[in-house]
Symmetry: C2
Subunit: 254 residues, 2 copies
């Protein structure tokens, strides 16, 4: 009598960036669990129930969704972006790992989506065109010294760095501290992209050199991409600058 | 008299994983440049011209597409996956950077897509649920010692590692050497995912511990994801194992 649990991502927020596969998972489901702004991106029908929760309640949300799926219902857990990148797929797996055996019998179907760094990168050129990493700057789930160690090693390795969860009311100073740390390793000319709300009506893209990067330009809807020493900026008359990381390694000093 | 250049990605190959935004870019374009298996994924109409090329000719393909767009045509450059991840968006930017001024006046529109590691991750659970990186294992465009240095630093930093271009006829030994190197840094129990042709009819997912990871299990259609010391495997009766990286940091030794 076990049901199905879909774990989907809405993409960055532009309906045109949500895949048909994701739409089919939405159509097949009768109950939706998620942070309410993400659920609100879906055009649900009257018979489809919304069980919205706050964005700090991932694990309890996952458990509630698994409970309902275990009873035989087709349930959908909704993330923004891609559900596998700093999002609900990991929370659902954590719950299954620690939960009752019945949860291991649920048909779990995770559907990939367009994650924020890809949407931001597309808007600005190709900053992720060579080796890169994605790091959550939130120190709610890992210690700050682990984050700073990772940032330093990434910069030393010459990786382009995409920062998720760069700033929030409860975490106001971490992004500035990250920029300070990276300025000790990377050239001041390295471009930093503040990609806000990519693909949505309130989209705003801003590029500034690391030497001048100002954490106040980011908010919770921003994905920050920090180039490597290889990353280049192309000025275009009458158009925004392009930022890209060449496919080949030129040996610029990192 | 400058035209438009769309740079798109088909996603991993399942038409249901291509976004509506990408389909609109395809509909608007009259000439298509790309590696032929990727162009063949599009249902082009008779008036839409295909200019297919081999997969080693990215820069000349980008230049040809830019030339045609500069003449006023609406042109589409086609990648697999996401066009910004080890794909054509960077080659197009490189060509613009080094090319004639007229190419900087072209309307460049890059459309994000589902990149291979996200499709593989979705199929297997949530291995990219925490900090991760993407590295191309091809030493055609960067020296092998840069690759080995990066791999070592990524493992030491506790990052999950997605390897693109893991193996080819011309590069038969690099993936095995990468496993050997990582075995010196990471526990032998770390799960390695061989994600082949995710979302396509010939899809095959395989998980083995790093200690036993066999490079011969990968081919050109495989994206290899190597867990961190935090990554866990969930056995499920009658279903494939789930692999996930928890959102929280437990402090497992890397």
């Amino acid at each position: 009598m076990s049901g199905t649990l879909h774990v989907i991502g809405t993409g960055p927020g532009n309906p045109d960036q949500m895949t048909p596969e994701t739409l089919k998972a939405v159509e097949a489901s009768t109950a939706f669990f998620g942070y309410f702004p993400y659920i609100d991106r879906l055009n649900l029908k009257p018979h489809q129930r919304k069980i919205a929760s706050d964005n700090r309640e991932e694990l309890s949300r996952a458990k509630a969704a698994l409970n309902l799926a275990a009873s035989g219902e087709t349930v959908c857990v909704v993330s923004g972006g891609d559900p596998g990148v700093f999002a609900m797929a990991a929370a659902v797996c954590e719950a299954i790992d620690a939960g009752p055996d019945a949860w291991k019998e649920i048909d779990l179907v995770v559907t990939p989506g367009v994650t924020a760094m890809l949407a931001v990168a597309a808007r600005i050129g190709a900053p992720l065109g060579h080796d890169f990493c994605a790091i959550s700057l939130s120190d709610n789930l890992k210690p700050w010294d682990v984050i700073t160690r990772r940032l330093k090693l990434m910069a030393e390795a010459g990786m382009v760095i995409a920062l998720y969860n760069p700033i929030s009311k409860a975490r106001p100073w971490q992004l500035g501290a990250a920029f300070d740390l990276l300025r000790e390793v990377l050239p001041a000319t390295v471009p930093v992209i503040f990609g806000r709300a990519a693909g949505r009506p309130d989209e705003a893209m801003l590029v500034m050199p690391l030497g001048e990067a100002d954490a106040n330009r980011a908010d919770m809807a921003t994905c920050v991409i920090i180039g490597s020493a290889e990353t280049r900026v192309i000025a275009r008359p009458g158009k925004p600058d392009l930022v890209y990381s060449p496919r080949f390694y030129s040996g610029e000093k990192t």
